[in-house]
Symmetry: C2
Subunit: 472 residues, 2 copies
């Protein structure tokens, strides 16, 4: 097995095909690498330029100083010969961002891809792609990709360390979609350790990266977008390893539709086999979702809740809005969750705070009045103590921060001390200060009610699958 | 039938229970009304204060100058006597924001609600509530509500007139959820004419407001959140009128789950009857959705597309990301849409722009390279000309504005000239300048792929239902 460590953690990287023109992809990759504080050496390789974006450029791979990783962004027909040169130069890892291989009509592309496989094998190189979009390693601040999502923007590569309760890795055949997970998740204070895009997977496939990431034991949740599983046995071994380690895999397998299959066949030359996947997924507690935001939201719930997964499907709902409570209840029912009446003792403990038009049954209609007087956290805490439920969904309005901010200490205590998972749905767009506060409290905030309900369900199912697996 | 015009378009409003304390709901309603440029007179009524937030306060309803609308926010037990005083004073409309009526346990609340009905009838008053959260009339800049969503914030009450292709009204029993539609929709440049919250609907119900709004003929789409339909015949008449007028009703009926029913019974004392609703909805082309963002997104699609609704279920997908194209295809299949191969002539017209690793089949994998060279709009235009499809979904990345901005003129032309609906999905969070550009172009922008697919389906189904209805 080639050394993925060299690929994801290179001390030096050569960009083969680097350009000064930052309007093109060959210039963008250099620009993006240089815009982050990567500590390793960056060596542009260019036939035509002696300097690329302020860096000394090398005429050929054979002129390079010792190099760990080659990123290739040159026409497909030149890739095999350059990869061969890399092998001869002792470079042990490569990512191929060029297109025009097995995804192309005709015989040339697929033949070129075969050549890559042979060369990679000959030199025992770790090769990702072709037709990928590179990767990001946030801890190393290394982003060899042309994805615009990795341009320095409004959110830094990583959230502050004190907000990081766990890390997420993305592995995706599709480059655009892979980095889209990062783009959607970072504003939610989710911490991404890796985004790896694998393209056609001529050599390394998603499962190989997943296995490396699980073995490394720095990542808590893995998001995968799969067009094809080249080697089901590898995937099964990886999924089993992930379940044993308690690292949830959240997977969307594209191509559920005929047109989707047609699209991925043209895209990464992949083919699907539904029944096989489904059986694997079920056996190893793999969480399936076909919605990008939902996948990110489920990952955030796992990261924040850690070991506090629901022991069953029974949920208490606490809401300041009666209509909001009803909407969550409907969403929970759709997600296959139960909302039993709370026990008498818990109801009595809640009732002392409620006006006569509130109710403690379940959903608990806390009423705006009681929220004004007692805040949100106390009701979630009381409900979570009911022996009748396995988790709590708290409905808030995060538009105006006052009630959440005044309740800060209790919310932080709730996030720290609750023994059962507590998820928050804000039915209005939350103010940034509320997003911040709930992130500080470690309480996962959802803006979509169905994602909230499905996250609770996914956590319960995952816990059940893992307990069954560890027993069996 | 009492006069809803007086309620929604008053020349003067009295706030019964008004307070100077803006931390409480009785002060908030005055604060919110005063924060918008409503041109009518505002009369606080307070037993204890002679001035409320700089306005002269009246001791009693009987001291008021002639007044069109009374907004009541006083303890439930005082509501009947004050409503009676309003009737005697010749006030012809009232909204009751107080809680403690039919939604309350015991006999007192329901009895008070009965009293309200009797008084309203005696004086032929238009009464909304109790247990509502008031309303907003954006054209009049009148927001008699304590909903934090109506505080002046980062987005004005209305988008610029030149961006307004149509208007949306919200009618919701739940106050919190009613204003949440506005809160989610305004950042998408959706123009809301009314948000009406109806609470327990002791007198006026959602259908009454819907009928008024349809007759007024200034609103293009109505979003409804319903907990109960008190009078199915009224609803049926309204739905029929809406279909005839070509004003889609997009409805979520809460209480689909047992716990949801329990919640709404406690909330607005409502009860459901599923089969009856379903039959009505189907007959009159009512669009059902249980997701707040999806409802807003579908409304935006209708408003932007106007009469250009898909003649069938056949969609062309154009994507710069192969994975993105496959994801949309899966979402379309789930939504019951078809993605037939494009016809040979259309394919030939697209193929001239594509590199060999792109494909014009459907999904059209345009490739990033071709987008860089030709922009997005041209591919959507070409695909929309295929006789094999009824609409187009264009997949973009809106994170970095360059390619969309460089394509501005073509996108604006596409929005203006396309004869078939074109919907846009951005798989990255769109930059504000891209949101702005697509709003200018009148091309509905989705950040969730499923909402995009479901909007296309809803538009096709609505057109089919309306054509059947008008024929029959």
């Amino acid at each position: 097995m080639p050394d993925i460590q060299k690929l994801l953690w290179p001390r030096s990287i050569a960009i083969i095909g680097a350009s000064s023109d930052t309007r093109g992809l060959r210039g963008r990759i250099v620009q993006i690498i240089r815009s982050h504080p990567y500590q390793g050496a960056v060596y542009p390789v260019s036939r035509s330029e002696t300097e690329v974006q302020g860096l000394k450029a090398y005429k050929s791979v054979s002129d390079l100083p010792p190099t760990d990783l080659a990123a290739m962004i040159i026409p497909a027909k030149f890739v095999p010969q350059e990869l061969e040169r890399c092998g001869q130069a002792g470079i042990k890892a490569a990512i191929i961002l060029s297109s025009g291989f097995a995804e192309e009509k005709g015989e040339t592309g697929p033949a070129l891809q075969e050549e890559i496989k042979v060369i990679a094998k000959r030199y025992d190189m770790a090769v990702s792609g072709p037709n990928g979009e590179g990767f990001a390693n946030t801890a190393a601040a290394l982003c060899p990709t042309f994805s615009p999502a990795m341009d320095p923007g409004d959110v830094p590569l990583l959230p502050p360390a004190e907000r990081t309760r766990g890390q997420v890795a993305v592995i995706s055949q599709s480059g655009g979609m892979g980095f889209a997970f990062f783009d959607h998740g970072r504003p939610k204070d989710l911490s991404f350790r890796y985004i790896v895009t694998t393209g056609n997977e001529a050599c390394l496939e998603a499962s190989d990266f997943a296995e490396f990431i699980i073995d490394e034991a720095e990542t808590d949740v893995i998001l995968m977008l799969i067009e094809d599983i080249k080697n089901p046995a590898t995937f099964a071994r990886t999924a089993e390893k992930a379940l044993r380690a308690g690292k949830p895999l959240i997977v969307n397998r594209l191509g559920a539709s005929e047109a989707g299959t047609r699209a991925i066949a043209a895209h990464t030359a992949a083919r699907g086999d539904d029944a096989e996947y489904r059986a694997l997924f079920k056996r190893y507690g793999v969480i399936e979702s076909n919605d990008l935001d939902e996948m990110v939201d489920i990952a955030a719930a796992f990261v924040n809740m850690g070991a506090r997964l629901p022991a069953g499907h029974r949920v208490a709902i606490c809401s300041s809005s009666g209509g909001g409570g009803a909407w969550v209840a409907d969403a929970c029912a759709l997600a296959g969750l139960d909302m039993p009446l709370l026990d008498a003792a818990t109801r009595a403990s809640i009732d002392v705070y409620l006006p006569p038009y509130g109710t403690s049954q379940n959903p608990v209609d806390v009423t705006a009045q009681a929220i004004h007087e007692r805040g949100y956290a106390e009701f979630a805490r009381l409900a979570s103590c009911s022996p009748n439920v396995d988790g709590v969904i708290l409905v808030v309005t995060g538009r105006h921060p006052r009630f959440l901010l005044e309740d800060r200490d209790h919310l932080v205590a709730l996030g720290r001390e609750s023994k059962k998972p507590v998820l928050i749905w804000s039915y209005t767009r939350p103010a940034p200060v509320c997003v911040d506060l709930l992130s500080e409290a470690g309480l996962p905030l959802f803006t979509n009610v169905h994602n909230c309900a499905r996250a609770m369900r996914a956590m319960a199912d995952y816990r059940a699958a893992r307990e069954t697996f560890l027993k069996g």
